[in-house]
C-alpha cells in the first residue's frame, strides 16, 4: 500500500479532487519505505524500519489557502481531509502573493528507481554493517557507522490538468573509524540510487587507512594554504552557495547576488549574466543525469529541464517563485532537486601527485555562515587532514578552523578532478590556492 503504482496513484488523486469544492485544489501523495542500521564501538546499537504514505491537500478560494494532510485512505477520510483544508482556507487571510496553479506539464523520463534498493532486507543491512565492523576489529580500530535505504514515490495532481508521478530509491552510508587510543580518525561516505553499487567493506577500508595514517598529527601554523578538497569537503560550501541562489533576495539587495547600485543609479538589480568565478566553473542541474538522477518536477509539479546555473564562471540563472517571476517580468525558474559541478579527468591521486606543497582535506564540519553578503563561512577540517609535499602525502596534520567564502574558493581554482556523487549531487575534488585557515583545533 505504501508504494503506489502510477495508475493507482492517479485513481486515488482523481477521487480526492472529485470531493473538492474549492476554486483551486492541489494534492500531493508521497509514499516511502525504508530501513536503517546504526553501529558504534564495533557493535550494532539501533536498527529500525519505517513506512508511511501521506496525502496533502491544498485548497484555495480566491487568494485564501489552507493545507491539511492525512494518512488514512478510506473514502470518509479522503473527504474529511478535503473539507479540513477548505475550512482552513476560509479562516486564512488573503495572500496577495498567491499564484494560480499550473496546467498539464510534459516531463522528462528520469532513472531514479532501482529494484535492488527496494529489495534490501534486514539481513542485508546487518551484513553490510558487519562487513564494515570486522576489518576494524582485526586492525584494532573502532567503527561507528550508519546505513539507511529508502524507496519512495511522489505524485501530484491538481484541478487544472496537472499530473506528475515519480519513483525513487536511495541508499546512504557513512562510517567513522578511529584508532583505539583516539589519536587517529578516518571517515568515508557513499550514496547511490542503486544499492548494488554499495560495498561497505571497500568504503570502510578508506576510512580505516585514514584513521591509521592520521595518528601523531603535526601542527602547522594557521594561514593561507593550497588545499585539495575532496568532494565531501567542498560540497558543504558549494551547497550553501547554491542554496543562496535566489532572484528575489538578489533583487531586494539582500544577497551575494545583489548589485550594489548607488542612489539614483539605474541598472540590473542582480548579477545575472555577470562573471563571478573562474571560467572553469560550470554548475548545472539535469534530472536525467546518469549517476545523480533526480525527480523531473518541482514540488508544485512544474516540469524540470536541464538548466545551467553557472556557465564558464558567469551567473546563468537564478531560481525564483511564480509570484516573483511575474512581478519582475521574468520566466519562472524552479529550484532543481540536485546539482552537477563539472570537473576534469584527474583522479584525487593524480591531483596529489601534481601538488608541490598543499593540504589534503577529507571533510569540513560544522559549517556556519558569518556574513551572507560575502558568503563567508566558518567550520573545521575533520577525520583525515594531511600535508602534501612533492606529490606525496608526507604526514598527518592537526585539524584547522577555516574562515572562507565559496566565492573565493571558486576564484582560486588550480585544478578540478573527476566529479563524484555526494549527497545526491556531483562535485569534483578541487585544488584551491590561498584557502584561509584561522586557528588550530585539538580535536581528532
Amino acid at each position: 500500500m505504501t508504494i503506489l503504482t502510477e495508475q493507482k496513484a492517479k485513481q486515488l488523486l482523481t477521487k480526492v479532487i472529485g470531493f473538492s469544492k474549492a476554486d483551486e485544489v492541489e494534492c500531493n501523495l508521497d509514499g516511502q519505505v525504508g530501513g536503517n542500521i546504526r553501529y558504534a564501538r564495533n557493535t550494532v546499537s539501533t536498527a529500525g524500519e519505517q513506512s508511511d504514505l501521506v496525502l496533502a491537500v491544498q485548497s484555495t478560494f480566491g487568494k485564501r489557502t489552507g493545507v491539511a494532510t492525512i494518512n488514512e485512505f478510506d473514502d470518509a477520510s479522503l473527504q474529511k481531509v478535503v473539507e479540513r483544508s477548505e475550512e482552513l482556507a476560509k479562516l486564512a487571510p488573503e495572500n496577495p502573493e498567491y499564484m494560480p496553479l499550473f496546467g498539464e506539464q510534459k516531463y522528462l523520463k528520469s532513472n531514479t528507481f532501482f529494484d535492488t534498493t527496494a529489495n534490501v532486507t534486514p539481513a542485508d543491512r546487518a551484513q553490510a554493517a558487519d562487513d564494515s565492523i570486522q576489518p576494524s576489529i582485526k586492525n584494532k580500530l573502532t567503527a561507528s557507522g550508519f546505513l539507511e535505504e529508502t524507496v519512495g514515490f511522489s505524485a501530484i495532481m491538481n484541478n487544472k490538468g496537472l499530473f506528475a508521478y515519480n519513483q525513487a530509491s536511495n541508499v546512504d552510508f557513512s562510517v567513522t573509524i578511529r584508532t583505539n587510543d583516539g589519536k587517529g580518525s578516518g571517515w568515508v561516505t557513499r550514496d547511490y540510487s542503486d544499492y548494488k553499487l554499495l560495498d561497505t567493506q571497500q568504503a570502510s577500508a578508506i576510512a580505516m587507512q585514514k584513521a591509521m595514517d592520521s595518528v601523531e598529527a603535526k601542527e602547522l601554523e594557521p594561514g593561507k594554504y593550497t588545499v585539495i578538497l575532496e568532494p565531501a569537503a567542498s560540497v558543504g560550501l558549494l551547497g550553501n552557495m547554491m542554496n543562496a541562489f535566489d532572484q528575489r533576495s538578489a533583487d531586494e539587495g539582500r544577497s551575494f547576488l545583489s548589485n550594489k547600485l548607488k542612489e539614483g543609479e539605474k541598472g540590473p538589480k542582480n548579477k545575472l549574466g555577470q562573471k563571478m568565478f573562474d571560467e572553469r566553473v560550470n554548475v548545472y542541474s539535469d534530472p536525467q543525469h546518469d549517476i545523480a538522477p533526480s525527480a523531473p518536477f518541482a514540488g508544485n509539479g512544474h516540469a524540470l529541464q536541464r538548466m545551467d546555473w553557472i556557465k564558464d564562471g558567469v551567473i546563468a540563472n537564478m531560481p525564483n517563485t511564480p509570484f516573483w517571476a511575474k512581478k519582475s517580468d521574468n520566466d519562472y525558474v524552479p529550484e532543481p532537486n540536485a546539482y552537477v559541478m563539472e570537473g576534469g579527468d584527474e583522479s584525487l591521486e593524480d591531483m596529489i601527485k601534481n601538488t608541490r606543497r598543499g593540504i589534503l582535506v577529507t571533510r569540513l564540519w560544522y559549517i556556519r555562515s558569518l556574513d551572507p553578503q560575502t558568503l563567508l563561512y566558518t567550520g573545521l577540517t575533520r577525520d583525515g587532514t594531511f600535508y602534501i609535499e612533492n606529490g606525496k602525502i608526507k604526514y598527518p596534520i592537526k585539524n584547522f578552523r577555516f574562515n572562507e567564502s565559496p566565492i573565493v574558493m571558486l576564484n582560486n581554482i588550480e585544478a578540478l578532478g573527476k566529479p563524484q556523487r555526494i549527497n545526491g549531487s556531483m562535485v569534483p575534488p578541487m585544488k584551491i590556492r590561498d584557502f584561509t585557515f584561522s586557528s588550530l583545533s585539538d580535536a581528532v
Partner: protein, 542 residues
C-alpha cells in the same frame, strides 16, 4: 528523516532552516479535542507490555503519544502559512537477549499494538547476534499512576488564530517603521501529550507545552545589508510568555533591553529596526584580545555547545562518533577528580526541573523521576548526563533522567537536559559586571556558532556588539566573533552577575542521532565576564 516531513523557511539569519513537521495537519479546533482517556491508554500500554513479555522480553516500555504543533509564519505584511499538525501513535521498546529492540505504529488497535511489540522483540533478537555486552539498566522503582502538566497560565493552542496573526503583523510593522526593510516572524507552538508505561510498574501521563516566537529582520544600506534576530527565548511556558511584563525587562544603558520571564516582542522588533540602522553605520571591530561581557541570551548557546554537548555520556563513550562526534571531556579526566573545566567561580549544573525551561518534565522518556545535579563544581568536572543503560559505565547506580524521544515514532535515547551556569551568590547586576571592564565588548543575542567534533575549538558571533571603555558602553560595533578553546575559555571566567540577572535561554531544535531527532533544551545563566578572549573581524572583501 524524510524530506516531506519538513517545512523549509528561507528566513533571514536562519539560512534555510528545516523544521520537523511530522504529523497530520488538522484544523485548529480539533487540536483542542479531549486527549485520549488515561484508562484506555493504560489498557493499550498493558497490551504492548504483555505481548513483549510473552515473546521473551525481560523489560519493555510503551510510549503512547499525541503530538500537536501549530506554526504561523509571516513576512512583512503577508501571512505565509498557518499549519496545524497532529501525530499520534505508540512506540514500544524492549530488551530481549540482553539487546534493545524498538518498533512503532500509528495503528492503535489492540491487535496492531501486540504485533508491534512482537516486532520490537524480533528486532532485539536479530540484533543480539552482534551484541558484545548485554544491556544493563539502572533500577527504577515503579511509581504507579501519576500525572504532570507544564505549569502554563494561557494555553497557546486556545488563543485564537487572529490574535496570533495580529501579534506577528504588529511585530513586523514595528520593525519596518523603525528601520528594517524586511522581516520574517514566526510562532512555533508545541504540545506533547505523552503516556509512558513500563514493566517496572509505572504509568505516567504528562502534558508538556513549549513556545518560541522568533523574528529575523534585515535592513539594506548603500554598502550592503545587515540582519538582526529576536532577543526572546524559546520557553516551556504558555502564551503568557508573550505578555512582556515590565518587571521582566533588564535594561543595560547604551545597549538596550534583555528579557527575563516574559517577552515584549513588538518592543524588541522596534529596537531591532533602530539597531539595524546603527549596524549599517557601525565601526568594524579591531581584532585582538578583549574582556567579553556576555548577556544570557548569547551565553546560553556557548554553554550549550561547550558544556552541554561535551558532557553527554554517549558522546564521551563513542556512540555519536559517526555524526556529532566524541568529546574532549574523557572519562580519565573525570576520574582524576582534578580536571579544571573552568575557574573556581564556575558552577554548572544539569536539571529537568526548572519552571519555564524547555526541558522541564516530572519524568523522562524511560520513567525516571527528574532531578538536578552538578556537572562542574567550583571549576572541577564532577559528572556527566546519562540514561538508565549508561550510568553503570560511570560507576553510578541512579539514572540522571536524560532520556527523550522527539515522537512516539522514534526510539528514545540520551538527550541533553537543561545545563545552566549558577549565578554569583552576591546579587550584583549586569551593569555592575560591565563597570569594571576597561577594554571590552558586550555581546547580546545568539549568532553564528561553530565548534569542533570534540568540543575544543569554537567560534561564536552574536546579534549585537557594543564597545566597553573604562566601564561604560560607548558605541555599537560590527563584525565581531570570538575564537577560543573550551577549557581556556571557562578558566577565563572572571565575574558573574547575581540571581536577579539569571535568565533562561534555549534551543528549540537541537539535532542529534542517526536518524536525526530534535529536542528542546534551556540554559540558564547570568551576565558573565570572560577575560582576554581572542576576537576576530568577520568582514571580508570578495
Amino acid at each position: 528523516m524524510q524530506r516531506r516531513d519538513f517545512i523549509k523557511l528561507g528566513g533571514v539569519g536562519m539560512g534555510a532552516l528545516t523544521l520537523p513537521l511530522s504529523g497530520v495537519a488538522v484544523s485548529a479546533e480539533q487540536l483542542l479535542d479531549k486527549p485520549m482517556d488515561v484508562a484506555y491508554k493504560k489498557k493499550l500500554a498493558d497490551i504492548a507490555l504483555n505481548a513483549a513479555k510473552a515473546k521473551g522480553a525481560t523489560y519493555a516500555d510503551a510510549r503512547i503519544g499525541r503530538y500537536l504543533n501549530q506554526f504561523v509564519t509571516t513576512q512583512e505584511r503577508v501571512v505565509d502559512n498557518i499549519v496545524n499538525t497532529e501525530s499520534a501513535g505508540i512506540g514500544i521498546r524492549v530488551i530481549a537477549n540482553g539487546t534493545w529492540g524498538f518498533a512503532s505504529t500509528s495503528n492503535m488497535t489492540p491487535d496492531s499494538i501486540a504485533k508491534t511489540a512482537e516486532q520490537a522483540v524480533a528486532v532485539a533478537m536479530a540484533n543480539s547476534k552482534f551484541q558484545t555486552a548485554p544491556v544493563k539498566l539502572a533500577p527504577v522503582k515503579g511509581v504507579g499512576d501519576v500525572s504532570w502538566q507544564t505549569p502554563i497560565k494561557k494555553n497557546a493552542f486556545e488563543v485564537p488564530i487572529k490574535d496570533k496573526v495580529d501579534l506577528l503583523l504588529s511585530v513586523n510593522d514595528a520593525a519596518l517603521t523603525n528601520g528594517a526593510n524586511y522581516i520574517r516572524s514566526i510562532l512555533f507552538l508545541v504540545n506533547e501529550q505523552k503516556y509512558f508505561a513500563s514493566t517496572d510498574g509505572s504509568y505516567i501521563d504528562q502534558d508538556v507545552h513549549r513556545l518560541w516566537a522568533p523574528f529575523f529582520a534585515t535592513a539594506v544600506g548603500k554598502n550592503g545589508f545587515k540582519q538582526r534576530a529576536a532577543l526572546g527565548n524559546p520557553v516551556g511556558m504558555g502564551f503568557e510568555y508573550l505578555d512582556g511584563r515590565e518587571e521582566d525587562k533588564i535594561k543595560i544603558a547604551g545597549a538596550g533591553i534583555g528579557y527575563k520571564n516574559s517577552y515584549d516582542m513588538v518592543e524588541d522588533a522596534a529596537a531591532a529596526g533602530k539597531q539595524l540602522q546603527a549596524k549599517l553605520k557601525a565601526r568594524s571591530v579591531e581584532p585582538g584580545k578583549y574582556d567579553l561581557v556576555l548577556d544570557p541570551a548569547h551565553l546560553m548557546l556557548t554553554i550549550h555547545e561547550s558544556v552541554g554537548h561535551p558532557l553527554e555520556l554517549d558522546r564521551v563513550l563513542g556512540y555519536e562518533a559517526n555524526y556529532a562526534g566524541t568529546s574532549f571531556a574523557t572519562l580519565d579526566k573525570w576520574r582524576s577528580g582534578k580536571f579544571q573545566y573552568g575557574s573556581e567561580m564556575v558552577n554548572l549544573f544539569a536539571d529537568k526541573t526548572q519552571e519555564g525551561s524547555l526541558g522541564n518534565v516530572a519524568y523522562d522518556d524511560e520513567g525516571v523521576k527528574t532531578k538536578d545535579w552538578d556537572l562542574v563544581k567550583d571549576g572541577i568536572l564532577v559528572n556527566y548526563q546519562a540514561t538508565r543503560d549508561q550510568v553503570h559505565m560511570i560507576d553510578q547506580k541512579e539514572s540522571h533522567g536524560c532520556c527523550y524521544s522527539q515522537s512516539w515514532r522514534d526510539v528514545q535515547f540520551q538527550r541533553m537536559p537543561n545545563v545552566s551556569l549558577k549565578p554569583n551568590e552576591k546579587d550584583i547586576s549586569a551593569e555592575d559586571v560591565i563597570k569594571d571592564v576597561e577594554n571590552g565588548i558586550y555581546i547580546a543575542g545568539r549568532g553564528s556558532y561553530s565548534i569542533d567534533q570534540q568540543r575544543y575549538n569554537f567560534q561564536f558571533g552574536g546579534q549585537l556588539f557594543f564597545e566597553i571603555k573604562d566601564g561604560k558602553i560607548t558605541e555599537q560595533i560590527e563584525d565581531v566573533a570570538y575564537q577560543s578553546n573550551t577549557q581556556q575559555f571557562w578558566n577565563s571566567c572572571a565575574q558573574l552577575a547575581g540571581k536577579s540577572d539569571y535568565r533562561l535561554g534555549g534551543s528549540f531544535f537541537d539535532g542529534k542521532g542517526q536518524p536525526s531527532q530534535v529536542s528542546a533544551v534551556s540554559h540558564g545563566c547570568p551576565t558573565t565576564r570572560f577575560n582576554n578572549i581572542n576576537v576576530i573581524n568577520t568582514a571580508r572583501n570578495v
